[in-house]
């Protein structure tokens, strides 16, 4: 679905990304991890089209990213940035409704989707509140509802999906402002939509949270891709030491059997 082929990015003579190759099959969840300044957000920006790759290419559905029209891509790819700078007093409901901008599905269907998206992120009670007055975590949930609304048709059960191509969701540190319950809610949403065929790429710092839902982990450092593999392959004390310069123990979750990093 989404292929990153030997991508390099240089901005103002500063190399930010170097020969990155990642394959994200349809419905997979990829977690980009690494220390600050490793190039995770830059890679996300190359995928989202904000930066044009200096070398290599990004393929969406076996077609080069450059060949897609922005309006087409917006119908199946949504991007959640790290933080929002909205300073106008939209209600939360209106913010979510902006996610329907690329679609012409009509106000009735849009209203259904907006209500459902707000409910999905546990923010129905915020619908009529002014966005600017919300807390950081609440804002991020409303923004998450906005990007979900944008690709909602791809997030429901497979049979209903009539879109020409499957959905892609890019998340940049989505859980940074969330409390524990909402971090788990995010994992649940990611698992559910990937099961419906949406390809998810997310930047995360919490190794354990990522381990819960990622099919594939990517360790990045200084613009290079240090390691790509499954959670079990990557979460080893040696690799964590190499990438994050942290001494860590890896244990097994007593119930779920997934690896767990303890520092």
């Amino acid at each position: 679905m989404l292929k990153i082929v030997s991508v390099g990015l240089t901005i103002s003579a500063v190399p930010l990304l170097n020969n990155i190759t990642i394959d994200c099959p349809r419905g997979s969840v990829t977690a980009l991890m690494g220390p600050n300044g490793a190039g995770k957000t830059s890679l996300l920006k190359v995928i989202s089209g904000e930066h044009r790759a200096s070398q290599g290419r990004v393929e969406i559905n076996r077609q080069s990213r450059e060949d897609w029209k922005p309006a087409e891509i917006a119908q199946f790819m949504a991007v959640l940035p790290q933080s929002s700078t909205l300073e106008f007093a939209f209600t939360s409901e209106e913010v979510v409704s902006l996610g329907r901008t690329p679609h012409a599905t009509g106000t009735v269907r849009d209203a259904e989707i907006i209500t459902a998206a707000l409910a999905r992120v546990d923010a129905s009670y915020l619908a009529q509140r002014s966005f600017v007055q919300l807390s950081g975590g609440e804002k991020q949930r409303v923004q998450l509802a906005r990007v979900l609304a944008q690709i909602w048709d791809h997030c429901e059960s497979e049979s209903e999906c009539e879109a020409p191509t499957d959905g892609i969701l890019l998340l940049d540190e989505p859980s940074a402002a969330f409390d524990l319950a909402h971090q788990l809610m995010l994992i649940d949403i990611v698992q559910q939509i990937s099961a419906c065929g949406v390809t998810v790429v997310m930047v995360m710092h919490d190794l354990n949270l990522a381990a819960k839902c990622a099919d594939q982990m990517v360790f990045m450092n200084c613009g290079h891709c240090t390691a790509v593999g499954t959670v079990t392959e990557l979460l080893t004390p040696e690799l964590i030491k190499k990438v994050f310069s942290v001494d860590a123990q890896v244990m097994t979750h007593p119930l779920q059997g997934t690896p767990m990093v303890v520092v």
Binding site: S48, Q75, S84, L86, T91, V95, L98, T101, Q128
Partner: protein, 345 residues
């Protein structure tokens, strides 16, 4: 948690109220002036075509009606362009002066006043005096310069545009001051009066020019409402929502430069309408551009007709420049709004 709705009225109600106010204020505008014309006379004139008083009929037809219509159009243009620019800059305090239009227009007008005395004696172009043509040219030239300065290989930077606008406005201000220094007493008076804005020069030619511009922009601008809403989230967010941000910015800058330049050309610099009206409407009905753009146009039209009517009666038989009235009324009102807004939040 308590539900807080920050809106005061629905867009529909706001639109209805403005649509009721518009003809009433316009009638008031027709009635007031050095010669008071009673409502009954205006109604009988329009309804039966019969004019009991030919002098009143002349005043209405030649002086007041074009002036009221021109105020409507200029007010609507200034307000809708203000709303557009506030959306583009994602700053509720942006106003048309920011893209250098007003300062550039002042230079153009002052140049003509000081050096073009032979021109002004000549005929008019589309009902515009040479001063208006100078103002229009100055306005367009400065906006082009500022737009060019802010546009690089990475696209147009709205932040650079803001800074360039401030710098170019300062430069243009210095140029106007130099011209004022060179000017004789009569020229000086004309320059400063022009900068205060007034609608005395209203004529049907000017109304036509403004009507064409307003009609053109009135068709094009509301189509950008959805994209402008997306822009409020941020430029990259708008891009991810499928908006072609670079072209959108270009279109918006062209529309607002054109709208403001035309209104400055026919009416001089009128302060505060472009800043205050969209701000006020946003407080009433929220920032959704689908409602904000048309409602701002309506409210701007009403405000300017009312201000102009007031300008004609305050020190009658003399007139205050309408820009003075909008600033005199607008600034305290705006401050009051800010205080109320702070207390509520």
């Amino acid at each position: 948690m308590k539900v807080l709705n920050t809106r005061l009225i629905t867009p529909r109600l706001c639109g209805l109220l403005l649509l009721i106010a518009l003809p009433l204020i316009s009638l008031l505008g027709l009635m007031t002036g050095p010669v008071f014309i009673p409502l009954a006379d205006i109604l009988s004139m329009t309804l039966s075509g019969d004019s009991g008083n030919s002098q009143e009929k002349l005043i209405i037809e030649i002086i007041r009606l074009p002036r009221v219509v021109l105020s409507l159009l200029v007010g609507a243009l200034l307000a809708i362009c203000g709303a557009l620019l506030q959306g583009l800059f994602r700053n509720p305090l942006a106003d048309p002066a920011l893209i250098g239009v007003s300062a550039g227009a002042s230079v153009g007008a002052s140049l003509v006043i000081v050096f073009g005395s032979m021109l002004t004696a000549n005929g008019l172009l589309l009902g515009l005096s040479a001063i208006s043509v100078g103002a229009f040219a100055g306005a367009i030239i400065t906006s082009v310069i500022i737009f060019r300065l802010a546009t690089g290989p990475q696209g147009t930077s709205v932040a650079t545009m803001l800074l360039a606008g401030i710098a170019i406005s300062a430069l243009a201000g210095a140029a106007t001051n130099t011209l004022s220094y060179l000017a004789d007493n009569d020229m000086l008076r004309r320059i400063s009066l022009w900068q205060m804005g007034n609608l005395q020069g209203a004529s049907w030619d000017r109304v036509g020019l403004c009507a064409v511009t307003a009609g053109f922009l009135g068709l094009l601008i509301p189509r950008e409402a959805g994209a402008l809403n997306a822009m409020l989230l941020g430029e990259s967010e708008a891009r991810h929502l499928g908006v072609n941000v670079e072209w959108l910015k270009r279109r918006l800058i062209i529309y607002s430069a054109l709208g403001v330049a035309i209104s400055v050309a026919v009416a001089g610099v009128i302060a505060f309408v472009g800043l205050m009206v969209p701000h006020l409407i946003r407080l009433l009905v929220g920032p959704n551009h689908r409602a904000l753009l048309p409602l701002s146009a309506l409210a701007g039209a009403i405000l300017l007709v009312a201000a102009d009517a007031l300008a004609r009666v305050v020190i009658a038989p003399a007139e205050l420049p309408v820009g003075v009235v909008t600033a005199l009324l607008g600034a305290p009102f705006f401050l009051w709004l800010l205080v109320v807004q702070r207390r509520r939040s």
